[in-house]
Assembly symmetry: C2
Homo-oligomer: 204 residues x 2
Amino acid sequence: MSKIKKDNTEERILDAAQSVFIQKGMDGTRMQEIADTAGINKALLHYYFRTKQKLFEAIFKKIFSGAFPSIKDFLLSDTPIEEKLEVFIERYIDLLLKNPFLPIFILKEINRDPDFMIMTLKSGGVNPSEILDIFEEEMHKGNLRKMEVREILINTIGLCIFPFAAKPLLLNLFFENDKNAYKQFLVNRKTTVKDFVLNSILIK
Amino acid sequence: MSKIKKDNTEERILDAAQSVFIQKGMDGTRMQEIADTAGINKALLHYYFRTKQKLFEAIFKKIFSGAFPSIKDFLLSDTPIEEKLEVFIERYIDLLLKNPFLPIFILKEINRDPDFMIMTLKSGGVNPSEILDIFEEEMHKGNLRKMEVREILINTIGLCIFPFAAKPLLLNLFFENDKNAYKQFLVNRKTTVKDFVLNSILIK
DNA sequence: GTCTATATGGCGATAGAC
DNA sequence: GTCTATCGCCATATAGAC
């Protein structure tokens, strides 16, 4: 089946809204800007989605249904913990390289309207407990040093996310605004974060 | 000299504005809310600071003049690298425990208006190069494993900041909304982040 | 300096023609 | 379904009395 370019209005609106919302957040977004980006007028936005809030919720759900392809099967498979972490970090950073505004967007909205965000995330299947169980088991087997398992996951995610969320600052303070160097730094983190985490949690 | 409670209007405004701006950010803040918090009316805000933007800039500068007490003397002193990192992390997390909204505030504003933020930070003396030099030297002496020095500092800061910036999410997903447990987790990070980082960068 | 009242502009949302 | 025109509100900002 050939890929048809869907240019129906609803989809154009969703694409435009996603692009603006993810960069400016709920508070910073203007309906006019979404309309301009979609090449239509404001009234149509309301015709399709009634309110800004409803449009935002549609976008947030859309982002999360697509953003987190399941990695559970792999994590639960019978591979060494090093490899699991490696693949997790690689996929996570790849996802962020494709969606660099995702971290700051989520952090902003999580702090602005926690209840809605958490509800949406949970109904999207976000649940760390299975991953924590894996760490727990490996620790029991003596493959990981004794520590709070939540710490491992929280630190790993934090290390992946931070350079994206703080990009404008780090780009300036650490890379003299050399965007290519910064991009390379981000790509390299697929390896360096893995090394950093493994060096810290594996028993030598 | 006894501490006099200064209750002049300008200071009340600054305190109120700081409290609101840091929680809601520039976009999410209403002048009315600042006025209410300060116990005055909107007009006075404009009498003292003319515009919301100017008030915001005053607050941002105020936060940064007080927020980062110099730790340079200590970092440049003749103490082992382990101790330097330990004290750096301890002070950093203590600062965040006292100003838990600081991370998300800075991340938001850094992404909203990078030029102004970076200018302000730099004129406030923020400059990582001296710290990077220390890592460079220790690495040369063979005390740290070979790696990109920027990585050490960026990771350390990221690990300190992330649990504050993502608090509502982590509180729910990892701590079942037990605020005391989360608070304890944050306090413990003065030790656990240090261990995590040192385990990763020290040569065994 | 501090207040009330009001101007001014922008934004979300709606009405109504086509 | 899509547009233009406009409403109504809210937020920043100002005018002017005290």
